[in-house]
Symmetry: D2
Subunit: 145 residues, 4 copies
């Protein structure tokens, strides 16, 4: 596929169809472009922690998902090598969170992606930086589950 | 409560009872001590990502949960300020993951906790380092949801 | 001082005058603005490590310096709480490195700043993210050494 | 060289002889073992920042140096891919800092090392976690400068 935008969209569609965690958490991939992804999640009652705020792991998972879609957009299977996150603001049940991931750097095999997570009031909830590692397989040729 | 071990166990019990995310993901808190927590999770089919391996966000959430229990063990409500994670080995459906969190440093308000996540073969799956921030509230006096 | 740009420049001048490490390493603060700083350093022979490339610590120090100037630009003494760095490309003796730090987020007391370090060919050498903590003192009222 | 301890010591000697940054900063490698290094530095007047405390970059450089010696101890040229640091306590002129680096994980090519930096009063000054990447070259066969 020679059109980068069409490739990015086809990758998102293929990944999402087998992405059971992302579907179980009610996330939707709302924008997709070369080196970019936007993913949304509504904070449900079953995403709260022992202090009655959204579990940091759920916020991380949202950011990590946007990162995953952005770094696979070029068509090669790419996995997370690591990440760091800053939790800036607590989220509560019913909040609508939007994560946007952007490629900062990509070399032959490694990449760095920055993700910001905002809530429905436009407040910055979390900052995430992910490091990716590209494998040799094509996303669109991966076996179905 | 003057016995640190009894306090840690009471904190774990109180937190777990309202920890809807942790319960929904099937995690169990298997050990609790001052500055220490062990948490277990079985990788379910609804925890996989688009590459058919366990979503990194689920591994992070397990580690973050062990961190949360360890840093609240002293009884004051303590939240995560941030964290970093290294993903070392992919996990698959059915794997049994165990996260152990240990206090590395704690000052008046801030702490650093290290978490290792191993699978059922004793292989190191992920390394996590969390930074905590302590609030003035007591865990055992937090209102029920 | 009510003009943010004039304040940022006055802060830079005051900090630099007592910044012995930065002077010893031959760094120069080449641009200063609210929430922004640009700092330059030439890789000298006494900045190399045991593999004959620029010591990662020197690259970090350059980025950390740009971060420090950017986060103090608002006039309150602000210190680094922590940072992460990705080393992307080796630098060699004679390379001219430029670090640019930008404020990503700033709340009452805490901030996050991103720094990119490029060499004289415009290649990205390192990515840095710093977390700042603001104290109550004014930079311009700090005692001289 | 088949004795790991003798190899680690030979590596340290070879690296230090060409490690101009480390020599310029007055650091000494005080212990060396497989997967371990201890490095010391006295905070000099030319290591202070604009707030008259030790520049965080100098503390990072000390920790990064201990990391470098620990991850090269096995004899293959190994470079830093990235690191994170938490600054816990300010250091002042005359303080004697000791960094100890320990291997946490090492696979074929990649490793994770933890470093703690203490002052002469035994207080924890900084925590550092480094990620290493191993090249194919031998440290002991590297060309002299």
């Amino acid at each position: 596929m020679s059109d980068p935008q069409a490739l990015a969209e086809a990758v998102a569609k293929a990944m999402y169809s087998r992405d059971t965690a992302v579907i179980a958490l009610g996330m939707t991939v709302t924008k997709m472009a070369p080196g970019f992804a936007q993913v949304r999640m509504r904070v449900r009652n079953d995403m709260l922690n022992g202090h009655a705020i959204c579990h940091g792991g759920m916020v991380f998972t949202l950011a990590d998902t946007a990162f995953a879609y952005a770094c696979n957009a070029q068509g090669k299977v790419t996995v997370a090598a690591g990440a760091s996150v800053e939790f800036l603001l607590a989220s509560r049940e019913g909040d609508e969170l939007t994560a946007e991931a952007r490629e900062v750097m990509r070399s032959k095999r490694n990449g760095v992606y920055d993700v910001g997570v905002h809530n429905q009031r436009g407040e910055l909830v979390a900052l995430f930086r992910g490091r990716s590692h590209q494998l040799n397989e094509d996303v669109l040729e991966s076996p179905s589950p």
